[in-house]
Each structure stands twice: as C-alpha cells, then as structure tokens.
C-alpha cells in the first residue's frame, strides 16, 4: 500500500515546525533567517507560504508516476512502491533534465558547489521504510499534515469536503494531477494562488515521452529493412549499368578488331 501526505491548509497555523523538522531530518541548517525564506531551495526542501491569514505548504509532490524519474537517464531518481520518490546521489551525473521535466519545478541544484547534487524532499524514505511517519507529519501540532495510506487519505479528504463544503475549494489537488501524487492538498483558496501549476493533465507526464520512445525498436527494424532494400535496388542498378557498359565496350572492341582483320584481308 502506497503511503502519502494529506495537507489541509485550513488546519495549518503557520508554525513552521514542519520546516524545522524537515531540515533536521535532512541534516540542513535551520534558523530564523532560513525560516524567513519563502522559497524551496537546495537547503530548504519544504516551505510554509503565508498570504494574509492563509497558509500553504510546498514540497516535492512525490508523484505516482514521476516525470523526474522517467527523465533521469541513469535512474538516479526512482519512485519506490512505498510512496517516496528517492534520489540516489552516486548515480547522478548532473544533466538536470529532472529539473526541467518536473511539472511542479521542485528539484533544486547546488549551484554554488563544484560537485553539486540535486536536492528535494524525498518523503523521508528511511522513516517510511521503518513504518514511521514523515518528519513533517510527526511534528505537526494540528494534524494539518497527515501521513497515511494514500487511499485512506483520499477518502478522508473527500469526507472533509463533504462535511464542510463551505470551507474548501471542491478539489483534492494531487488526486489526478499528472496521474496523481503522493502529496494531497486541501485548501480554502485555489492552490494556484500559492504558485502551484493549474491546468495539469490527468495523464502521467512520462507517457508524453514514452509514447515516442517506445517506437525506437520499430524505427530500428523498419529503417534497417527499408534502407537495406533501397541499397539493394540502387546497387543492383549500378552493377547492371557497369556490366552493360563492359559488354558494350567488349562488343565495340571485337567489332573494331574484326573490322581491322577485314581491312587487312582486303590488302
């Protein structure tokens, strides 16, 4: 059963304890200056955004079928059956196609380092594997971030909207976006106001490229047959032309010789 996070913005009080717990979990520095930063970065994998009295978390969505994992040429990024989209640093060669491919523009790069890594929230894979909650869900004092089985969280989110329709935008963001994500959002205002992309397709992103990529064996086999065939025909034509030329030449030669002989006889 795949795990997920449900973030209910209406229950969030903006205490930012999730930010601090995340930093600690990932061995990153956290202080007032970092807390004030309103952007995900290579040293801040989750951020609580504030707009008036509204809050919104941003973090890696840990997609069900992630664009980054399909884009990565060396499979450094992978979706685990448990839910987290993990990053294996020792494979990464730094092409940054994951950053381009991510529909949520989540992956960050250590631009300042000579040998940089890609950085992002990986949904605490070690904790999840050990049967624990993610650090952010565990610390959350109000239950705004809740960890659990994805199916159960979806059911719960639907129930919350049903019970309090006035409180929510009637949508679970992440339910179907890009084929579904392991982070689900509930909010009283459209999440787009906090920079989440709107109008995402229900189709998983990897399908867009794999649709074409899966034709590679066909191109190879058909291309080989076609090109080989064309060569066989054109080459035969060249050979025939050459043979005809030879024949012509030898005929002309023998004609000339017989003529020569003829003239000699005459003499």
């Amino acid at each position: 059963m795949s795990k997920a996070l449900l973030y209910d913005a209406t229950a969030c009080i903006g205490c930012k304890q999730c930010e601090e717990a995340c930093a600690k979990q990932n061995g990153l520095p956290y202080n007032d200056a970092v807390a004030a930063e309103q952007n995900q970065s290579e040293h801040k994998f989750t951020v609580v955004l504030t707009k008036g009295d509204k809050f919104m978390r941003r973090l890696c969505m840990n997609c069900e079928d992630p664009a980054c994992a399909s884009a990565c040429p060396v499979a450094a990024l992978r979706k685990t059956p448990a839910g987290p989209v993990i990053y294996e640093e020792s494979r990464c060669m730094g092409c940054r196609y994951c950053m381009l491919a991510c529909p949520f523009s989540v992956p960050r790069y250590e631009w300042g380092k000579v040998l940089p890594k890609v950085r992002k929230c990986t949904m605490c894979p070690d904790r999840v594997a050990a049967g624990k909650q993610t650090a952010c869900a565990e610390i959350c004092p109000t239950g705004a971030t809740k960890f659990g089985d994805r199916d159960e969280l979806i059911a719960e989110a639907q129930k919350r909207i049903r019970d309090n329709p006035g409180n929510y935008v009637n949508r679970i963001y992440g339910l179907n976006e890009v084929g579904g994500t392991s982070v689900l959002l509930l909010s009283s205002v459209p999440v787009e106001e906090f920079g989440y992309p709107g109008g995402l397709s229900k189709e998983a992103m990897p399908e867009l490229t794999y649709r074409v990529l899966s034709k590679v064996p066909d191109v190879v086999s058909l291309g080989g047959v076609l090109l080989g065939g064309v060569w066989w025909i054109t080459n035969r034509r060249v050979e025939v032309a050459a043979a005809e030329r030879d024949e012509e030449a030898s005929r002309a030669q023998s004609k000339a010789q017989s003529k020569e002989r003829g003239t000699k006889k005459h003499e």
Partner: protein, 395 residues
C-alpha cells in the same frame, strides 16, 4: 591571400581560445553557479542550445551518406567527406559541451551501465555515442589513405554499407529525440514551440540543415581549394532544400493551426518577435530557392544555405531558451563565461577542420597534393588556419 588578414584571424582565434580556457578553469574550479547564469528556475541555458544546434547542423552527415551510399547517387561523393568531417566535429563539440555542462562531468559514462529505457536523455546518450563511432568509421578512410594502410582501408570499405545504414537509423532516432526531450514540458515551453510533433520537426529541420550545410561547405571549399560540386549538382541540392523547407514549414504551420495558437502572434512579446525571426530565416530561402535565377546562381544558393542554417540555429535556441523563459518567471541571458566557452568550442571546430583538411585527404584529389609535398615536422606545429597554403600549391 594577404598576410595581415591571416595573422588577424590567428590573433582572434588565440584570444577566443585564451578567454575560453580561462572560463573553463572558472567552470571546473568554481562550479556552475559561478560560471553560468543558470538557476533553479532556469536550469538549462546556452550550452543546451549549443548542443541542440551543433547536432542539427551535423545533420548533413547522415543525409549525404544516405544519398551517396544508399541511394547510390555517386555524383555527390566529392562533398561527402568534408560533410562527414563536419558532422564528426559537430558531434565532438556536442560531447565536449555536454561534459562541460554536466554537474558531475566525470560521471558522463554512467548511462553505459546505469540504464533507464524510459528516459529520452538515456536514448540520446547511447545514440550520440554510437553515431559518433559511426562517423569516425566513415571518416577514418581519410586517415588510412594518408598513412597508406591498404589492409585497414579495405576492411573499413568492406563494412561501409552496414555502417552507413546504422548511422542513418541512429541519426533519425536522436535527431528527433532531441525534440522529444521537450515533450515532457507541456506547461513550460511556450505554445508557439511546444508541440506533440516536436520530434518530427527536429528531424525534418535537421534534414534541411544537412542539405544547407552541403551547399554551404561546397561553396567554401570552392573558395579555399578551387574545388566544388558542379553547379548542376548544387542546383539539384538547392531544389531539394526548397522542397524540404516547404514541407517542414507546411507541417509546422498546420500544427500551429490545429493547436489554435496562431493568435499568440498578435501579442507584442519577445517570443513573438523571435518566432517571427526564426520563421523569416526559413521562409525567405524557401521562397527564393524556387526561383531559377536563385538556384542556378552559386552565390545566391550559398546565401540561401546560410539563411537556412541560421534559421535552424534560431529554432533550436528558441526552443532551448526563448520558449522556456516565460514560464520560469526569470530572465536568462548567458554569462560571459558561457559565451566565451561556446565561442571557443566553435572556434576549435573551425581550427580542427582546417587541420584535418591540411593533413588528410578530405577533399577529392587532394591526396595527390600531399604525395608531392612531404610535411616537415616543424611546419606541423603551426598549422592552424593555414589552409590557404593549399591554394598556393594548386595555382
């Protein structure tokens, strides 16, 4: 060829390479952050654009190899070798710029052993690697001829057809795959360029670039060596280029129509202007090349080929940079170090081409010249851009 001009270009080359070398030091000892204007919001910049168009401009390699060896149009043979050399240098530049652009250059070999067959980048890595090998095999007869290694020459001639077929298939795959890279960013690439047919567009425009490059090089070789394809052959290429361009432009126009994004051109935006520039650079040569006065005139043909090449470069830069800017929310212009490195890569490609032409039988009949003229070693050390000497020998 006057002496001062000669020295001037050498000087320019030296300056470009020096600044480039310094930029390379910055890149490898200070990191990507210090040597580029790339950011989390704009992770791919000039070097990716350069990679895209260096491969497109190398499209002549597989096009002409197919024309000469598969379709057996032997009359185009004289210009095949310089085009193969150009393609080989184009791909070499791709690989070098990739190594510079990678965050961890020493792991460039990882795709060999760490596979992900769902990744377009993985497929490109393999294709480029294999096709560069193919180009080497296609060009190496020049070296074997020069060294008079008759047995190696016979061996490499024996495998020509399978190698060429492999080359055409590999090129078809990755030329289009470079477009497929952008299929996964429907929300990020500006609609004037984002299309589900991007791979087809990339492939077709690479064919155009290949034809244009053949005309382009033939003209230059005629200037430098008094050698060229006969005008009727170039006229033929010009006609083919006109039709290819017309087809490519028709497909793209239909795509814009079907996706209903033509109205975007009414917006006074950078994207609009640069799209129109790209379109003009391709439409003008297409129209001109249909006129007899143009495609039967060597200089006019040459100018049309230049426009086409610039058009393809504009297209690749628009996809890589212009089209990705709006959604990123940032403004990107390459840092001087990025420009310097790119420029010195282009300069080295030209210099290497000149070197190869000087020492190897790249142009037909050229080996006769070499046979008559043994090269002293000292002369071999200062050969860059010394190509014009060949003209002196011939005349």
């Amino acid at each position: 060829m006057s002496k001062p001009k000669f020295t001037f270009w050498k000087f320019v080359l030296a300056v470009v390479l020096l600044v480039g070398a310094y930029s390379l030091l910055l890149r490898f000892f200070r990191g990507l952050g210090a040597s580029t204007n790339l950011t989390d919001a704009f992770p791919w910049g000039l070097w990716v654009g350069f990679k895209l168009f260096s491969v497109a401009l190398a499209g002549g390699g597989f096009t002409l190899a197919a024309v000469v060896h598969i379709f057996n149009l032997r009359r185009y043979r004289p210009v095949l070798r310089p085009i193969i050399l150009t393609a080989f240098l184009g791909y070499s530049m791709f690989i070098v710029s990739l190594i510079i652009d990678l965050g961890r250059p020493y792991r460039v070999w990882h795709p060999l052993v760490m596979w992900n067959d769902h990744s377009v980048m993985f497929e490109i890595a393999w294709c480029v690697m294999l096709y560069t090998t193919v180009l080497l095999l296609e060009f190496i007869p020049a070296l074997f001829e020069r060294l008079q290694w008759k047995r190696s020459l016979a061996w490499v001639h024996g495998i020509t057809i399978p190698v060429v077929i492999a080359g055409v298939i590999l090129s078809t795959l990755h030329q289009s795959s470079l477009g497929s890279l952008y299929l996964i960013v429907p929300g990020k690439l500006y609609p004037l360029w984002y299309s589900p047919f991007e791979p087809v567009f990339f492939f077709l425009s690479a064919l155009c670039a290949g034809m244009a490059m053949t005309i382009f090089e033939s003209w230059h070789s005629s200037k430098a060596f008094g050698k060229q394809l006969e005008l009727p052959l170039l006229t033929g290429l010009g006609r083919v280029l006109a039709v290819l361009l017309a087809f490519y432009l028709a497909v793209r126009t239909l795509d814009l129509l079907h996706r209903g994004v033509f109205s975007l051109l009414k917006l006074p935006r950078t994207e609009t202007y640069l799209f129109l520039l790209e379109a003009a650079l391709l439409i003008v040569p297409m129209v001109l090349l249909f006129f007899r006065r143009i495609h039967e005139n060597l200089t006019a043909l040459y100018l049309c080929s230049v426009l086409t090449l610039l058009g393809v470069v504009a297209n690749r830069m628009n996809v890589a940079i212009t089209g990705m800017e709006a959604n990123s929310g940032t403004y990107y212009f390459p840092k001087w170090t990025e420009l310097a490195i790119t420029l010195s890569l282009v300069a080295s490609a030209f210099a290497l081409f000149a070197l190869a032409v000087k020492y190897l039988p790249v142009f037909p009949d050229a080996h006769e010249i070499y046979a008559q003229r043994p090269e002293p070693v000292a002369q071999a050390l200062t050969p860059v851009l010394a190509v014009p000497e060949l003209t002196d020998v011939r005349s």
